[in-house]
């Protein structure tokens, strides 16, 4: 997908300076250099004398399986013994770890495997070629007579072999070959295999340490009181009660609130709760969700600046029209591990321990904040306890807060800042609330011929270092992607975007704009197919026919069609819905069957089909589909952040709920091969179409059109609610 090609200016310049600075800096030797006896033909790879193959991870592991997939790709070309491969967190800001398309160190947009595909294979193949060369020298035979298998170079003619570990010193002396031959797919032995996740044992024993688990000598812990009203500022505060509480070391004001630093988290939290803070709340203090929806609805009554046009809309030319509106609420990411960062700050050095997705951009933000050269900033990536986009913060907000606390405290101790769950659910950086309004004119065959559509919502990228990359022709594609360039054939269409502003920060959430455009477009398609009395798969096929760019979507539709009995009526009390959506270079679709028992609905069957190109680890792809289903289901049954008095109404997992084991259906996943030889996105692809597949099944069962989330069904219960 080219939508994520970042521009040349902005933070990329910063990132370029960064790597330059590092190359010159003696500090670099502190960051992840390999001991002399290891063979490290690339910063990403170290082969050690004991045969350990260590992969330094260019991308963050937040659950999506990136570490395992990255290791599989390198190990395959290297012909490594899989059980000797270990993952190491990134601690360096070296350009060798850059995202291959973005020119900075970053994880996001479901690209961890796809962007590194060529790079990782070349790293593995280069190392392998050098090990073979070293063995050839050692035995004095031509390299071409040697083969490799499971971390061994094999000389078949002379019945001997030597382990990679024994060759590290000699291989390290060699010049890397200018060109290497990569394996053909039939030669893959680890790519495409269901190897166990590389982090599976550590994460099954409690021994994987996340950022929040970090313990350093003399470490203190900080808790923060944030403004309850969005955009509010501290007017004054009284520390009388808090300052004398046990363990309290310091109370400091930072731009976003007041922080208490204490020996332990509980002491910091208790003292924070004892602070008396007078907030300057500003005009937003009288705003509610209803006010915002009213404003959005009024805007949708008018034509927004047009970001896409085909033909000429004229509803007078249509036989009949269908109109509607779908509202998507603010959503908090709620990663399972609350946000946190540990900072050790001195005059000229800044060291961070945190689970973050944007190390390259974080460093630029921290350089600006501290005046400390990026070459003296070290970011120690940790396991990320989930993220869903929250830890990809364009202004590094949570790292900046932690550094501001450390800076204001003037303490030499490492300070671990921990957000409470409430700080997360109530703290903004939400998936924007978005209103979709549509009017569709149908031809005599009840196919769409005129499509007018307004999107209303706040911009994610405006005012961030990502603006240049994401704003195309004046429109933020983080508001429109998934609707823009729809593959459905409609002769005349006009899509407008109203960009709103409010003091609540917004941010990409898993699936980005597709989290609302996908469900909106597919809900419309379901409605149109229903209106035409058509099979929804065939109806979509008609609108995609003859479009070369849609062949993978059609492939997924075919797979869904084959897997079910669309042609036959479902059993009594079983109601179906389906949807399909392309995103992040891939395509996924679902068939959902609900069972109606009286007025209660529950899942009967869920089938998913996914085309994500070359599959590196099938079980890992399936796990992301299971994950997507649970994630999407949570938005259907339990998640919205409402605003009242300028504050977030919901605060924690009791009122911002996550779907539970008893609610989440088992999913049968079909991996569709449409002939792509490289991998495309996985982690975010499965979320968007699940939502409209469910709402269509709900319509079939209840006759109720779902136009807001979470669903609010009249006279019916769904799952545990």
């Amino acid at each position: 997908m080219d939508k994520l090609q970042l521009g040349r200016r902005g933070f990329l310049q910063g990132a370029a300076c960064l790597s330059f600075g590092l190359a010159l800096s003696p500090y670099r030797v502190l960051a992840q250099d390999a001991p002399a006896s290891t063979f490290s033909p690339s910063a990403l790879l170290r082969i050690e004398p004991d045969n350990t193959v260590r992969v330094v991870m260019p991308h963050a592991e937040m659950g999506q399986g990136a570490y395992t997939g990255i290791a599989q790709i390198i190990a395959d070309e290297l012909d490594a013994e899989w059980h000797h491969v270990v993952a190491e967190h990134l601690e360096s800001l070296d350009a060798a770890f850059n995202h291959q398309d973005w020119g900075t160190i970053a994880t996001g947009a479901s690209t961890s495997i796809s962007n590194q595909w060529n790079n990782l294979r070349e790293v593995g193949a280069t190392a392998r070629a050098m090990l073979v060369e070293a063995a050839a020298k050692h035995w004095d035979v031509p390299a071409a007579t040697l083969t490799t298998n499971r971390s061994m170079v094999i000389d078949k003619a002379n019945s001997r072999k030597i382990s990679y570990g024994k060759l590290t010193t000699s291989a390290a002396q060699l010049t890397p070959p200018a060109k290497v031959t990569l394996k053909t797919p039939d030669q893959y032995s680890i790519i495409g295999q269901n190897v166990q996740r590389i982090d599976s044992v550590a994460k099954s024993s409690g021994s994987a340490t996340f950022g929040i688990d970090l313990q350093l000598p003399n470490m203190l812990v900080a808790a923060i009181a944030h403004s309850p009203v969005f955009g509010g500022k501290v007017k004054s505060f009284d520390t009388a009660a808090a300052a004398s509480m046990p363990g309290v070391k310091k109370i400091v004001e930072i731009p976003t609130g007041v922080a208490v630093i204490a020996d332990t988290f509980w002491q910091a939290k208790k003292a924070k709760d004892a602070l008396k803070i007078d907030w300057e709340s500003g005009a937003f203090a009288s705003t509610s969700s209803n006010d915002l929806w009213q404003q959005y609805s009024d805007l949708a009554d008018t034509q927004g600046p047009v970001f896409e046009r085909r033909g000429q809309i004229d509803f007078a030319q249509s036989d009949s029209q269908i109109e509607g509106e779908i509202r998507f609420p603010f959503l908090a990411h709620a990663p399972m591990e609350p946000l946190n960062a540990t900072v050790q700050l001195s005059e000229d050095r800044c060291e961070i321990w945190s689970g973050t997705q944007l190390q390259g951009i974080d460093a630029v933000n921290l350089e600006q904040l501290t005046g400390i050269a990026a070459s003296k900033i070290k970011i120690n990536t940790q396991w990320l306890g989930g993220s869903f986009g929250r830890r990809a913060a364009p202004h590094a907000d949570f790292l900046v807060e932690a550094v501001q606390i450390a800076k204001a405290s003037k303490l030499p101790n490492p300070i671990k800042m921990i957000w409470q769950r409430e700080d997360d659910i109530q703290g903004g950086f939400y998936r924007p609330m978005v209103l979709h309004r549509y009017k569709i004119g149908l031809d005599a065959n009840k196919l769409p011929a005129h499509w007018a559509h307004q999107v209303v919502g706040a911009s994610i990228s405006e005012g961030t270092p990502f603006e240049e990359a994401f704003v195309v022709d004046g429109f933020d594609t983080l508001s429109t992607e998934g609707l823009r360039h729809t593959k459905y054939h409609v002769d005349n269409l006009e899509f407008g975007l109203h960009t709103t502003k409010h003091p609540i920060e917004v941010l990409w959430l898993r699936s980005e704009a597709d989290s609302h455009t996908g469900p909106a477009v597919e809900a419309i398609m379901n409605r149109l197919a229903r209106n035409a009395g058509a099979n929804p798969i065939d109806y979509r096929r008609k609108l995609l026919a003859g479009n070369d760019e849609a062949h993978r979507i059609v492939g997924v539709l075919d797979a869904l069609d084959k897997s079910s009995n669309w042609k036959t009526k479902p059993a009594e009390n079983i109601y179906r819905g389906m949807a399909v959506h392309p995103s992040f270079g891939s395509v996924s679709g679902y068939i959902v069957e609900l069972k109606k028992t009286g007025t209660h609905l529950s899942f009967h069957k869920v089938i998913a089909a996914m085309d994500c190109g070359r599959v590196v680890n099938p079980e890992s792809v399936k796990a992301q589909i299971y994950s997507s289903v649970a994630f999407a289901l949570s938005t259907l049954i339990g998640q919205k952040v409402e605003i009242a008095g300028g504050k977030a109404v919901q605060s924690n997992f009791h009122d911002y709920t996550v779907a539970k084991l008893s609610e989440v259906p088992d999913v049968e996943v079909i991996l569709v091969d449409n002939g792509l030889t490289h991998p495309t996105g996985v982690g975010e692809v499965g979320v968007p179409p699940f939502i409209p597949a469910v709402t269509e099944a709900v319509f079939a069962a209840t006759g109720q059109e779902v136009n807001e989330f979470p669903m609010n069904l009249d006279g019916y219960s769904f799952l545990n609610a």
Partner: protein
């Protein structure tokens, strides 16, 4: 307040305010960070340990309410065949994604299987109320069933 607790079979002396939740005593006073903070309001299960064999959420349970006669077991100290089978099933099925909820999941599953080595789907639904934001539930079910089978066979 000084206090003695029996954690993972050993008596530990701690010094914490009586209202400090057991979770934070484990994490900040004893360095047992396998037990996680997810919500602080008993709504997610990330902080689950076993107290006398029962799965117990610790984020809102003040340490003052515990005594040294109680057996407190954390993920770091889980002994025995049940836990071994659970951990093995978890690892083999690559259940964990981000992994942050999994200590709590494993503690809850282990406690369930100790009392009920052959849980039905309904039993699993009823006991496994922990939140997993990564949505690993389908594989949690698979792993529990695998562990149960292993326990029954051997």
């Amino acid at each position: 307040m000084k206090k003695k607790l029996k954690i993972n079979g050993e008596i530990q002396e701690i010094d914490a305010d009586a209202d400090t939740p057991l979770l934070w005593v484990l994490r900040d006073h004893l360095g047992l960070t396998g037990t996680k903070y997810g919500c602080g309001v008993m709504a997610c299960g990330a902080c689950t340990v076993m107290v006398d064999g029962r799965a117990t959420r610790t984020c809102a349970m003040p340490v003052g309410a515990f005594n040294e006669q109680q057996d407190i077991t954390t993920i770091e100290g889980l002994p025995g065949a049940t836990h071994h089978a659970v951990q093995k099933a978890w690892a083999e099925n690559s259940v964990a994604q981000c992994g942050y909820c999994q200590s709590g999941m494993i503690m809850t599953a282990t406690a369930m299987l100790q009392n009920n080595p052959a849980p039905s789907d309904t039993d699993i639904d009823k006991h496994m109320t922990n939140i997993c934001r990564c949505g690993t539930y389908q594989l949690v079910r698979v792993a529990i069933k695998q562990a149960a089978k292993e326990l029954q066979n051997g």
